[in-house]
């Protein structure tokens, strides 16, 4: 789960990382009230989970109430690359002497944590990494040992910041590491981390991605949910606990396991079709989960045929079959279904489905055959509806 900047800053503040005085506002009046409280000049920043908001006019400086009113009014409701701004963060503007970059994440290849620090902040760090890799100081942290103050200091020295910033940077980075581990984050990033003319070091931005698997030990995360902007299909699926990604085609897909779900997209593509979605019902899905998945797919008007591809390991064939039967009884499934069912208790599952098979529910023995059939059915449905449209005209 990716946090908005303001949520990230609130989280940083809990770990003692200095951030500017500010607050989130959903209305122009709230923005002005915050500006009055924190003191001018203020920076008004669009809260969206997409890069490039500055260029899009989503970050503005205001010196008084009128300017705050004008900028907040323009930014709220602004569409930045498809993300509509519902909230702005208003904070006291900082004087900046230098801008740095700092982050912690997992280095998957080394299987250890990786801290990255650069004296060249404020820009995309990918660009720095590519164009001047020496400007990126790295520290490998063993998760068992953690980050010692000595290791942190050596790392900061390696980054060659302004020497005035070293002590402040060490202090912040130790706290940032604590936040990374303690808050169960996959990524914590400060860009820019700034040095003020008075010599203070301070986080001007906050990018935090939390590990959804750790939700069980973070009841406080409830405050973060429900705010992300999702494709309506993705929202419905997420509410039902399904892993769903909307795509542009017309063959609705349901599979178990991310790998098989991706392979199902690939094979539909290869036999000449276009997947409408990626949907992973996960391991050990019950009949109810299967029924939910079918309903989500059925609610997508672009779907012309449905391909269910199940290879049960932990998922049981009879549960899958019962889910399909249950969904057929509950809702009117608009598109024909092609199913390929293999693995654990597949025989039982196929037996259950047999009684319901028709030209609307077809069973195929292999993944390739099932994909071909589903793609052909989608094509036929598309042609039929095109003919119908011509007829009505």
């Amino acid at each position: 789960m990716d946090l908005f900047e303001y949520q990230g800053k609130q989280l940083f503040a809990r770990y003692g990382i200095p951030v500017s005085a500010g607050a989130v506002a959903e209305t122009v009046d709230d923005a002005v009230a915050t500006a009055e409280r924190v003191g001018y000049p203020v920076v008004i920043k669009a809260q969206v989970q997409v890069g490039g908001r500055g260029k899009a006019g989503g970050v503005k400086l205001a010196n008084n109430a009128d300017e705050t009113r004008e900028h907040a009014g323009n930014i709220l409701g602004l569409d930045i690359k498809g993300h509509v701004v519902h909230r702005v963060w208003v904070e006291h503007a900082s004087d900046i002497a230098e801008e740095y970059y700092a982050s912690f994440t997992l280095d998957r290849a080394a299987k250890k944590y990786l801290g990255m620090l650069s004296a060249q902040g404020g820009v995309e760090i990918e660009t720095v990494a590519e164009e001047s890799p020496d400007a990126l100081a790295k520290v490998e942290v063993d998760p068992v040992d953690g980050l010692s103050e000595a290791a942190c200091r050596a790392w900061v020295e390696q980054a060659k910041l302004n020497p005035k910033a070293d002590d402040g940077a060490v202090e912040i980075l130790l706290k940032l590491y604590e936040a990374f581990v303690g808050a169960d984050a996959d990524l914590v990033e400060i860009n820019p981390l700034i040095l003020t003319p008075e010599g203070r070091v301070h986080a001007l931005d906050a990018k935090v991605s939390l590990d959804d698997n750790a939700r069980f030990r973070h009841p406080e995360w409830d405050e973060f949910t429900g705010l992300e902007k999702l494709d309506p299909r993705e929202r419905e699926a997420s509410e039902r606990g399904l892993q769903y990604v909307g795509l542009d085609g017309d063959v609705g897909l349901i599979a178990n396991g991310a790998g098989l779900a991706m392979a199902t997209c690939d094979i539909v593509h290869e036999v000449g079709g276009q997947p409408a979605n990626f949907l992973d019902i996960g391991g050990g899905a019950s009949a109810q989960v299967m029924a939910n998945a079918l309903e989500v797919i059925n609610n997508d008007p672009s779907v012309k045929a449905i391909f269910i591809n199940i290879f049960g390991g932990i998922t049981k064939g009879e549960e899958v079959a019962n889910g399909i039967v249950q969904a057929l009884g509950q809702v009117d499934i608009a598109s024909p279904i092609v199913i390929r069912l293999d693995g654990t208790n597949a025989e039982q599952g196929r037996e259950i489905l047999k009684a319901h098979e028709s030209d609307r529910l077809v069973s195929k023995p292999t993944m390739v055959e099932a994909a071909r059939t589903a793609v052909a059915l989608a094509r036929a449905a598309r042609q039929a509806s095109a003919t119908m449209n011509k007829g009505t005209r």
Binding site: K112, A258, L260, M262, I267, G313, G343, M367
Partner: protein, 294 residues
């Protein structure tokens, strides 16, 4: 011949008394796996259809001589279960539990690697492993698999592990060992670990490797294959059609930028001499060609 497990491997199940643990523990035993014990502090002294339940892994190992475990406990308890297994000296710790926090995985992986070098973790979030006709630990539906080789299977995704077995079975090709390494951020056993074991296993003559988008495990495997493998490798990388920047299902499968895409991985693998297929069925067909030429 096989890698990691064989007919003599004695296995305990941490979580045998839970619903999933019981189902898969018994299913593994029914396949012929020597499932010799379970662990549950609260239910010590009882049994699950004849499989004795012990209070701790240490007790279970002392009583049964087990060398492997399947960890099938809820995610919040997984880290402790893995460390308990390593402390008890088990050589193979198969973690099928899914949904374990990344920081727990990073922590127990490094702890075991440093303090218990004799223990290997497979997983987490993996389907387990199978030596057909001898030993099955985990979720792999083993019925279709043919024993005896000459092909070794290694896959990141669980369901694609089954698909690989199925493709080979349909062509009448046997398997030495089939390993699902799991798609989580910190896998205890990597592609390279398995490739190395297959290269050293006399019965394995060729390897099928199923990868997926995200991370750089396939690229690392490609470099290893080019430098060290004499046996032919056939591969498929799931997610050719995945749109960039979208998270496809689990933590392993995220693409950002060009690195980590299926296309990039396939190119690197091909350059390393791997025969790359565009779907699992085509991979099975390529492997059939390889096997007929052995």
């Amino acid at each position: 011949m096989s890698i990691l497990v064989n007919a003599d491997t004695k296995v305990i199940v941490q979580g045998l008394t839970g619903g999933q643990g019981k189902f898969y523990g018994l299913r593994n035993r029914a396949y012929g796996t020597k499932v010799v014990g379970g662990v549950s502090p609260k239910k010590a002294g009882t049994d699950v259809e004849g499989i004795p339940v012990y209070a701790s892994v240490k007790d279970a190992v002392a009583e049964t001589g087990a060398t492997a475990t399947m960890v099938i406990v809820p995610a919040p308890a997984a880290a402790d279960a893995v460390l308990e297994a390593a402390e008890a000296g088990l050589a193979l710790i198969v973690v099928v539990t899914e949904g374990i926090p990344m920081h727990d995985e990073a922590s127990f992986y490094n702890r075991v690697k440093r303090d218990f070098p004799g223990s290997r973790i497979l997983g987490p979030n993996c389907p387990g492993l199978l030596t057909p006709g001898e030993c099955n630990i985990g979720f792999i539906p083993a019925e279709v698999a043919q024993a005896g080789g000459p092909v070794g299977i290694v896959s990141r995704s669980g369901t694609l592990t089954y698909q690989a077995l199925n493709e080979l079975a349909e062509k009448g090709i046997g398997v030495t060992t089939c390993v699902g390494i799991g798609g989580d951020p910190v896998p205890g056993t990597s592609f390279i670990d398995c490739l190395e074991l297959f290269e050293a296993d006399a019965a394995t003559k060729a390897v099928i490797m199923f990868g997926e988008i995200g991370g750089s495990a396939e690229e690392e495997a490609a470099a290893y294959i080019e430098a060290n493998m004499s046996k032919p490798v056939v591969s498929y990388v799931a997610g050719v059609t995945a749109p960039p920047g979208k998270k496809m299902g689990h933590a392993g499968a995220i693409i950002s930028g060009s690195k980590g895409t299926a296309q990039a991985k396939m190119e690197v693998l091909e350059a390393a001499g791997v025969r790359v297929a565009t779907n699992p069925t085509a991979a099975g067909e390529l492997m059939a060609e390889v096997v007929s030429g052995l």
